[in-house]
């Protein structure tokens, strides 16, 4: 048991603690920024969400109160939108992962021998960022509109019913979300796969694991940090997105997500407390989901 004695006596190296005023000073701009642009709006949002309509006031006039009934009202009124948001975001995340993983694997592992190809493919992944997100989504609306080549061809081939549409359907919204967030999924996946030590894969196949088992038991667990980062970077903004689902872009009346409802309440209905309450619910739900996800995926020791 001589080994145990050495193993348990691991000394925890203590970093020297210096009370540095310089560090505090350097952190000051960041802290100020956060207080000004994160904490203040957050507090304001929470207060707004609890406001009550002014008695005998106009539309859009509210007073500070503790009207938690707002939360119950918005959940009752908008629960389909809340569910739809997370459903669409989940579908888009799964699709983006399914599309990005092979792509990132090719760039990060298979193309290692050809650095030029690797860089070229990375540029292609990032290239869409050079055009505005709104323009690209509008372009898709054109490409997938009823009169477009793709849709008319599909109808001519009887793959789509003659009176069917693509834009305005849930598929179009999920397609748009997937398309728009694929780079956010691909890049973190690429960074972990690019560092993947192929010797582990060799060890796996040496220990009787077939290629699929090696992928399942070695490659995927080792690329977990990238999967977690990529899915979070896709899921969080997708759940709150209001562009793709908007009627002006790829959505329709039946595809409205939380973002669209919040927008409508803030800007059209002028029901600020409802919009604020919805925003808080969205934020809290995402925090809880992400917390559980990170905990469950067990990537703490790989990060």
């Amino acid at each position: 048991m001589a080994f145990a004695a050495f193993a348990t006596a691991e000394a925890q190296p203590q970093a020297p603690r210096k009370k540095s005023r310089i560090a505090l000073f350097l952190l000051l701009p960041g802290i100020l920024y956060l207080v000004l642009f994160f904490l203040t709006p957050l507090v304001s949002l929470v207060l707004t969400s609890l406001q009550a309509p002014r008695e005998f006031g106009d539309i859009g006039q509210y007073d500070y109160a503790f009207n938690w009934q707002n939360y119950v009202d918005v959940v009752e009124a908008y629960w389909p939108h809340i569910l739809r948001s997370f459903g669409y975001a989940l579908a888009a995340t799964v699709l983006a992962l399914a599309f990005s993983y092979p792509l990132a694997y090719f760039i990060g592992v298979k193309a290692r021998r050809w650095p030029l190809l690797q860089s070229l493919m990375l540029v292609l992944v990032i290239a869409p960022f050079f055009i505005s997100f709104l323009l690209r989504t509008l372009a898709w609306k054109q490409i997938l509109s009823d009169e477009s080549f793709i849709i008319t061809s599909l109808k001519a081939l009887s793959l789509m019913a003659p009176d069917a549409h693509f834009t305005g359907t849930p598929f179009a919204v999920i397609f748009g979300l997937t398309y728009n967030f694929i780079p956010f999924m691909t890049l973190p996946l690429y960074t972990t796969l690019e560092r993947l030590d192929l010797r582990y894969l060799e060890a796996g196949s040496d220990l009787y694991a077939n290629p699929f088992t090696v992928f399942r038991t070695v490659t995927v667990p080792l690329s977990m940090p990238g999967i977690v980062a990529g899915t979070l970077l896709t899921f969080i903004p997708a759940a709150g997105d209001y562009v793709n689902a908007s009627r002006d872009f790829l959505g329709g009346p039946d595809t409205q997500m939380m973002g669209n409802v919040i927008e409508a309440n803030f800007l059209v209905l002028l029901n600020y407390p409802a919009a604020a309450a919805l925003s808080i619910i969205l934020m809290a739900a995402i925090l809880v989901l992400v917390g559980v996800y990170v905990k469950r995926s067990g990537t703490e020791d790989l990060l």
Binding site: M1, F3, A4, F6, A7, D197, R199, Y200, E202, A203, G204, S205, D206, L207, Y208, A209, N210, P211, T213, V214, T217, V218, P221, L222, M224, D301, L302
Partner: protein
Amino acid sequence: MTVSIREFAERGADLELVGIQKRFPGFTAIEELDLTIPAGSFFALLGPSGCGKTTTLRLVAGLEEPTRGRILIGGTDVTSTKAHQRPVNTVFQSYALFPHMSILENVGFGLKRRRIADAEARAHEALRLVELDHLAQRRPAQLSGGQQQRVALARAIVNRPALLLLDEPLGALDLKLRRQMQLELKSIQEEVGLTFLHVTHDQEEAMTMADTVAVMNKGAIEQMGAPEELYELPRTTFVANFLGQSNLFTGEVVGTTDTAITVDVQGTPVIVPTARAARHQGEVTIGVRPEKVALHRDAPASSAERNLIGPGRVIDVSFSGVSTQYLVAVPGIGTLTVFAQNIGFGPVAAEGAEVWISWQVEHGFGLEDEPGEAARFPADTDTRSIAAQRRDALVAELEEH
């Protein structure tokens, strides 16, 4: 005998490499390799880095495909068998322990893949063998290099492969731990009776552990045999210098008898037994191991049983406790190395001393290399020897005045 990966190997399998060639884009790693390793033996492939030994191992493991040739394990052609279907396990140089699994999961990985019953109990058993069972729940990153190495070994032997491949497995260990592991490996091999193929650049490791050593150089096997045989009777300059040190001389064969040849080394006749010489006429390279050579302070009487070279001058003395290494510069021949056991107290000759060296005729060997290709000693004395002579001359001159 067919070897299935679904069951444990009862005994080691023999390995046969037939006409193997391996080319990578831009270079050839293995020129032409034929090798047979009998079942149950501990075989070492020894060579400098880049000689193709690791490529050979990877070919056997199935991690590379040969450009040409066949690989047979236990008589079955596995040339086109994928790595995960070969009855072979590897202890990797980098250990390659899965960082996301516990030690126990690492060791049990191969058993689980083969769906062998009570994988966990067997994994614990293998860990007990390498005295690491108490760390079964840890992650590889929490273990020291030596412990990781033993886990890698346990992960391979737990599968009872017909053939175990070791890729410089002891390279990262300190001397004491390495000795311990060498003994452990050897006893495991004897206990289990597996065939071991060990790849190393450490000649001492190869000689202490293996029962057959093949010395590889530039993608081909230079010489193969038992360690003692390779050491006592090297066939090529490369083997003579890679496996220990050698004093080599080149010269013309000037006399031949039934039992010995006489080589003229810059005017000094040196006798080598015919049986120990590969070439018997023309220009030859002959040699003798430094520990076989004796150092004399005074010119000894010449005898038929001993070769005598000298006088030369000691140009360097390095004392290493158990022995002393002398470098002796002999005019016209070059610098010779002499190892002397410290039987008395300290070195017997000081730097600058005039000495003669001799060795028994039967200790010499003759190489099969063309002397022209082989590394040749400079015909003239080297600068250090000249410097030593100059200094002595100056000292003598000063003493005269």
